[in-house]
């Protein structure tokens, strides 16, 4: 395969893409209390600017440029733009969605003095800034630092309701992810130290240099560091057995935040693994095997736990555990097809899980309940939400013609190619059970006969949500269908991102 060397261009965009949301986040903290206009206006302005910058970077990267800033310390290639574009789009949808979502009475009454809409929007923008920083940095230790800061920025979003379950979820989230990510730091330190003799001091910390040293450093150190990194970044991504925080945090956070957590936050862990482990995987046969075993366990556990949930949001959260395993399995293969499929599923899962969480948020908004057994008694007059939900259901279980099918099919091919047929079979079975699990929930909520228990009482009805909420959902649903029918739309960006990893891998 021919991998061309792209021209490196010094540009301020990689700096702006994380600085703009950080500054706007700060502004919201400072001025948000002045009124709703300030909060919403600043949040919208910040997120639109970020989105604009992300799109500009994408266009330039697709033209074959690699953007760097501050002497290679910030390095934006296809993979970074892919993540930043996904984060900015999802962030924009979530911000617009939140404006109506929190209008519902139930949410505001529960909110505690420590949390307010000011801190909410402030933290969302801070988080997006840190997220973009994580994807733009090229420094292996700063990757850990910014990754940990993305956790810190989202903790008080998880505890937004400030009730007992939310506090508990936030505490677990903060503690477990912090401890987990320290493992990744230890792994990074080992790699960094091992690389010191082979590289000049100014370049030794750079992620892009990992490929040149991949075969030079002692194999036991690579394996030890890889194990530490899988534990560390795997905790962030929510792989079994490091997933204990994920269902709690994703279920107790407000629905738009859950969409952000499942859509973007756990993907940072996958991104970090792509930058580190994928570089070593082709040289060490045990790494793909180890990752395939871990991911298969994740798929089985996540899918089984999702099946037994009555709480809609917990069901979605456990399914995230299973779905992120597909992404990491692909990235861990270290082959073109594997990385391509992994990244494609990363994007697709961001779209689909965001869609599902927003749809569930709409259900909670209208019906005020989130248990499937209780929702089965509510009459729904929400055609758009139902449409979005069912598109999400089919897409996440990998049914054609939705986007999940394309990426999962690519992944199964890649896993089969790597002579891990059993892992591909586990993946297919997990997909089928996901369909059963989600379709059952959707059927019970939207289609089943509504029984009325009390004599003379009407079943409660739930009406369609405001436009600000359904616009985002419909956009994501349409994206899920369009990307399923015309997957080639994503190809240039995915191809560029995959080749970035491969280029690092061969040390170009």
């Amino acid at each position: 395969m021919v991998v061309t060397i792209n021209p490196m261009v010094v540009s301020i965009l990689p700096f702006l893409v994380f600085m703009v949301p950080l500054v706007f986040g700060g502004l919201i903290f400072a001025l948000g209390r002045l009124g709703k206009m300030f909060r919403h206006g600043l949040a919208l302005a910040g997120i639109s600017l970020t989105l604009l910058i992300a799109v500009m970077m994408t266009v330039r990267v697709l033209n074959g440029e690699v953007l760097t800033w501050w002497g290679n310390n910030f390095y934006v290639d296809g993979l970074s733009t892919l993540m930043e574009l996904a984060a900015s789009v999802m962030g924009a949808i979530v911000v617009v969605y939140s404006m109506k979502y929190f209008g519902a009475k139930t949410e505001i009454e529960e909110a505690h003095p420590y949390t307010s809409m000011t801190t909410y929007y402030g933290q969302i923008l801070l988080f997006l800034g840190l997220m973009n920083w994580t994807c733009a940095t090229n420094n292996i230790i700063m990757l850990y630092v910014s990754l940990e800061f993305t956790t810190l920025a989202t903790v008080f979003l998880v505890t937004f309701h400030w009730n007992k379950p939310a506090l508990e979820a936030g505490y677990k989230y903060l503690l477990l992810v912090t401890v987990g990510v320290v493992f990744a730091l230890l792994g990074s330190v080992l790699l960094y130290s091992a690389a010191t003799p082979f590289l000049p001091a100014s370049r030794v910390l750079l992620l892009t240099e990992l490929g040149t040293i991949a075969t030079k450093i002692p194999s036991n150190i690579v394996l030890l560091a890889a194990a530490f990194m899988v534990v560390g970044f795997g905790t962030k991504a929510g792989l079994v057995p490091f997933h204990a925080w994920l269902p709690d945090a994703h279920a107790e956070a407000p629905a738009p935040v859950s969409a952000l957590l499942s859509g973007i936050v756990i993907k940072v862990g996958a991104y970090a693994l792509a930058r580190t482990i994928s570089v070593f995987a082709p040289h060490y046969g045990t790494i793909p095997l180890f990752i395939a075993i871990l991911c298969s366990i994740s798929m089985i556990v996540g899918m089984m736990m999702a099946m037994v949930q009555d709480d809609l949001k917990r069901m979605l959260a456990y399914s995230s555990v299973a779905q992120i395993a597909y992404v990491i399995e692909g990235l861990g293969m270290g082959t073109y097809l594997g990385i391509y499929g992994g990244l494609m599923h990363l994007v697709n899962h961001t779209i689909v899980k965001g869609l599902l969480f927003l749809a569930v948020g709409a259900i909670i908004y209208s019906a005020g309940k989130r248990r499937i057994s209780e929702l089965a008694k509510v009459k729904f007059k929400m055609p758009l939400t139902a449409f979005a939900f069912f598109v999400g259901v089919f897409a996440i279980s990998g049914m054609p013609p939705f986007n999940g099918f394309v990426s999962k099919f690519t992944l199964f091919l890649a896993v089969g190619q790597a002579k891990l047929m059993w892992a591909a079979i586990i993946g297919i079975i997990t997909s089928l059970f996901t369909l059963v699990c989600f379709f059952r929930a959707g059927y019970k909520i939207f289609w089943s006969e509504k029984e009325v228990h009390a004599v003379g009482a009407e079943a409660a009805t739930a009406a369609e949500v405001p436009a600000a909420m359904w616009v985002g959902m419909v956009l994501l649903a349409v994206a899920a269908i369009v990307l399923g029918v015309f997957p080639q739309i994503m190809h240039p960006l995915l191809d560029s991102a995959t080749k970035c990893i491969l280029r690092i891998l061969i040390g170009g």
């Binding site: 420590y114 505890t159 508990e168 979820a169 010191t196 150190i221």
Partner: protein, 212 residues
């Protein structure tokens, strides 16, 4: 080094939270001394910056926060899963064996040849031992404050590994790491206090309403 080890075990095992905090303070103080010693030996002046940052965050800010928190809430530690005597004996024996093992077979964890030579060798072994000790605290202890102390033992262990293995780290990066630790500590203490108010206890075992 031996003092550092004893202080770490003290921070992990002393039942009185205030005393445990003091032990953590001493442990961090010794950590910054070790960094100064490395700086003297290698004539590497960025290490002085590093030692200063470690001193400010780990010796001053974090123990002060812990102390302030314990004083304000005035609760006593929730009993851990294992009793004091048993825990102390088993832990000491295990840690000494672990330390010796890492020291003997340092080739498994040392990424460079320099790291296998004294004093890096002992220092690396100590770093991994403290890391494991911190993990043990996280698993066995139920008290939320004690868990924070355990977390800091882990962070200090990694910090020692950092100093030993990559002494030429730029100051900005070190600043990033230590500020991270401080922000995490503040947020954890804030959440612990809120949980204490909401649940009436700092027992992490009771945080199981979401289990399943």
């Amino acid at each position: 080094m031996a003092c550092h080890f004893i202080a770490s075990v003290g921070a992990a095992e002393i039942r009185n939270l205030k005393t445990a905090t003091l032990f953590l303070l001493v442990q961090s103080l010794l950590l910054s001394f070790i960094i100064v010693a490395f700086a003297e030996k290698s004539q590497n002046y960025t290490l002085y910056w590093w030692a200063a940052l470690t001193f400010i965050t780990k010796v001053v800010i974090i123990p002060a926060l812990l102390w302030w928190h314990i004083k304000r809430t005035e609760y006593i530690e929730v009993k851990p899963l294992v009793s004091f005597v048993v825990s102390f004996i088993i832990l000491s024996v295990f840690l000494i064996v672990f330390y010796q093992m890492i020291r003997t077979y340092v080739g498994f964890v040392a990424p460079t040849v320099e790291a296998t030579i004294e004093p890096a060798r002992s220092s690396l072994a100590l770093a991994f031992t403290i890391f494991v000790l911190g993990l043990y605290v996280l698993v066995v202890h139920r008290d939320a404050v004690k868990i924070i102390i355990g977390l800091h033992l882990i962070e200090n262990g990694v910090h020692l590994a950092l100093v030993t293995l990559v002494p030429k780290l730029p100051v900005t990066t070190i600043l990033g790491i230590v500020s991270n630790v401080v922000v995490a500590a503040v947020m954890l203490l804030f959440l612990t206090e809120s949980i204490y108010k909401a649940f009436g206890s700092a027992d992490t075992m009771k945080l199981s309403s979401l289990k399943r």
